[in-house]
Symmetry: C3
Subunit: 371 residues, 3 copies
């Protein structure tokens, strides 16, 4: 952090709640796996180096020193140095360095990554579960008896140990179209059809809608993947404005819009329009690297300051869990320092907003105790 102002010091030290994150790799892998993890959108093997991107440059700038390498070290040396460690050792270096007190872990992807207990052990911090709705659906499809009852039973069984739910509707048809609650008969019919097809990778709209309304009923914060992701997602259908009608009927359940790029201004508008809507810039901040400050500034437009959260959306290499925090600290400092310099904000205001985004909003909305 440039500067030694009270604001800079505070941002450098503030504890974060990373309200949307996945596990770290738990198994060894080759350089190809690592470079592909530096590209979010492409689902095929990369033709070029994953290092030749903002994220790749940011890893070399900010993660290299954690491995006792100079900033901007070249990719080959970075890879060789990284290979001297196991993934667990890397997690033990990068996770604590992030300055996070609580990680809210989406457990919907499990293969080859750490579970919550491992994550807690490696980071030395608290970890909490976010239940993925499509996973509950797939479990219900394999359970005996009535689908709707099975879904409710599984959700109610998992919910007490979890702090929220998550939907990847963006990857399963997108937001546009009807998102009202389906009738019981429709659900039963759709479930029969899906079970006959094997009951895997839920794409049925009726059942997706059913899951969302179960999550609303549960009342714990409901996260939505929004915007930027891999190319299986039709990005234009992941525009959160298509959620408008759903949000109008969502009651008091907190709705968390994740990632949001390039729709962060639309998401900010929704956070102003609805008492129960929140947003973050996880995933995007890592991939934007040197351009993250401009994005973080846009998150601070229409959204009230009590509606913005921090997350990294780290997944796979432990670098990403650390880098999210580092880029956010650098970016929010750049943005708020300028607001203060310009006479638009007081430094005390800036420090207060840092606390809101860093942890207070997440602690309040997810009802996280002091631990």
């Amino acid at each position: 952090m440039a500067g030694s102002s009270a604001l800079a010091r505070h941002i450098g030290e503030v504890a974060l709640i990373d309200h949307h994150v996945h596990g770290c790799w738990s198994e060894p892998g080759d350089r190809r796996r690592f470079e592909n993890a530096l590209n979010e959108a492409n689902t095929e093997p990369l033709a070029d180096s994953g290092f030749d991107s903002q994220l790749g440059f940011a890893v070399r700038a900010h993660c290299a020193p954690i491995l006792e390498l100079p900033k901007h070290i070249d990719p080959q040396v970075y890879w060789e140095r990284r290979s001297e460690f196991t993934e667990s050792e890397l997690a033990q270096l990068f996770l604590p360095a992030a300055g996070v007190s609580d990680w809210l872990v989406d457990t919907g992807i499990t293969s080859g990554t750490t579970d919550i207990a491992e994550f807690t052990a490696l980071s030395g911090n608290r970890a909490h579960e976010i239940v993925r709705l499509e996973q509950v659906a797939e479990q219900a499809a394999q359970a005996p008896g009535d689908y709707a009852s099975a879904f409710e039973a599984i959700l109610n069984e998992r919910a007490p140990g979890a702090v929220g739910t998550k939907s990847i509707l963006a990857y399963r048809g997108g937001f546009d179209g009807d998102l009202t609650e389906p009738r019981a008969a429709e659900v039963a019919e759709a479930a029969d059809r899906w079970r006959d097809l094997g009951g895997t990778r839920l794409q049925d709209r009726v059942l997706l809608r059913f899951g969302l309304h179960q999550a609303l009923r549960l009342g714990k914060p409901l996260q939505f993947h929004v915007g930027f992701g891999d190319r299986d997602c039709d990005l234009h259908k992941a525009n959160p404005l298509y959620l408008l009608e759903f949000l109008r009927q969502s009651g008091d359940t907190p709705i968390m819009l994740l990632h949001c790029y390039p729709y962060e201004r639309e998401a900010g508008y929704l956070a102003q329009a609805f008492n129960n809507v929140y947003l973050d810039g996880g995933l995007s901040i890592n991939h934007l690297g040197a351009r993250a400050p401009a994005f973080i500034a846009r998150l601070l437009e229409m959204a009230p300051f009590r509606k913005i959260l921090y997350s990294s959306d780290g997944f796979g290499p432990a670098e990403l869990h650390y880098l999210g925090a580092t880029l956010w600290r650098r970016g929010i400092h750049r943005v708020l320092h300028d607001f203060v310099e310009d006479g638009e904000w007081s430094e005390a205001d800036a420090i207060r907003v840092v606390d809101l985004i860093a942890h207070q909003n997440a602690a309040r909305v997810y009802r996280l105790g002091a631990g």
Copy 2:
């Protein structure tokens, strides 16, 4: 304004024409009303403080000194100080401080706000009327006889005293879909149907289209609410690109695209594409607060400089009528100062563009005399 350059002095002193504004509150209200007025998008009582937003921070930064409070004073003190004045007294403090010569007042919302005569008296400036088309429609629905004739009669009666018209089509179904002129029989049929339902809150597409084409025929500037507003508006249907076909058939009548966030770049494109299209950033500038300069810079992209206007869209608290002017002056200075510093513009060019946006474009398009 930072700096003492000729540009900074000119921006600080230039008289503005605020080409889209509403009345100030004429009745006393409580803190809840005030805080809700700091949030545009939410139509429900706020769960959090309206002060915790860019607009709230901007009020504390720039309006507090008008009430002889320090910049960034805390919300409670601001509210208490504000409560020592009547709304009329506040208007008499804030309106003249805006440095506006002419206010173009949308009289479509009347309850609890000042009318044109009161506005003139409180500000000490000229005020002119903008006639809201949906209000004319609702008056025509209540009038005896043929709807179309009644609409034309009312519009023609009100037009000589007005400088333009306004449509809130964005709130009544949005821009996408057919916007051609309906046939007389369609209009008559739709009017019968609407009158049977009571003839309030016009939402009938045929009658909305009828009103737009009457306004085109009148030839006075026609304002459109575009983009950002409250959540009754489907924001994605308020994208001005959906007006393309209508604009292609709009002839010479000036079309004014208001607010525009987050579609200001699309609106700028339309201002380049059509001789009769103009844009402003009213409402958005207030709500963006410390982020207003970035938005003002985007207004200066594709739009020719003779197509950009100033407005505040102030409505309710007189702070907003003042703040719009203050944030615009600060923002345009920031942006143009940098253009000049970079060697991209001369200072003389910058001063000329300030005059165009501040008042010359509005005076020309609305045919405002020297008064």
Copy 3:
């Protein structure tokens, strides 16, 4: 270029490949023609001066010195000075000053502009042809015999002398809707229908789709006009996200997304998502003038650095071919200098990325030899 760093010197001297450009004017014209050429979007005679825009200001700032006039000279003097030269003389001043080694010329518009041989002679550089698919279609419509065979024959005859193809689908219905390969019978039927109507200005969707798939089969880079253009284009249908399904089926043929404003962030996402997708900011950079750096920065967000190219999209006045290069050099310096200052990139990285965008990516993708 401000500054005398190694980065600034490198950017000032680096040779460019302008991978998308049109001819210069070959015939004399009046001031009206010149001013209209400063406005891309409007297809009607301008009501106001074309100089009152970012592009107009940029011409006065950066082109005036090439004509030995002071920066920011007023439009009248600029026009008078320009009128002392023929268009060929202007081309001989402006083209070599751009610092371009290779021009890739779209020969789809021919009236009143230089052909490839003239362009080579005037610039003193290499020039290569890009074949416009809709032009091939119109030639096939006029050829005897089966349309599909004629199209293939013409394309195969022209291809060996060309380095790529281009589609203006954006102007002929836009990207949304089916873009799969049509069946032979459909093509034959559509061709008959079109030929009966005269076979000019292709708008038939079936035949447009046919041409795209012929270009994919050819395998040379296929350029798409994306986003910003003149008002015949429905801008919202030129959003490159509507190409997603087509891109998923495009195999290895390089797809070049041109211009992209205001969808450059969406285009950058596609360049990350697909190994074969590239983007540039030609046309937009010229029209953005003093605002070009902000746009160039957004091009450097999600797109991997081996997927970004340089172009001017110059067409008509030779000023535009020069200005594109000048604004790009100034803008990329501004952006990368800040990344280096902030400690996000090393200067060596910045220089390497400049080389990639300036010429290496284009040389690799279009297989341009050392000449």
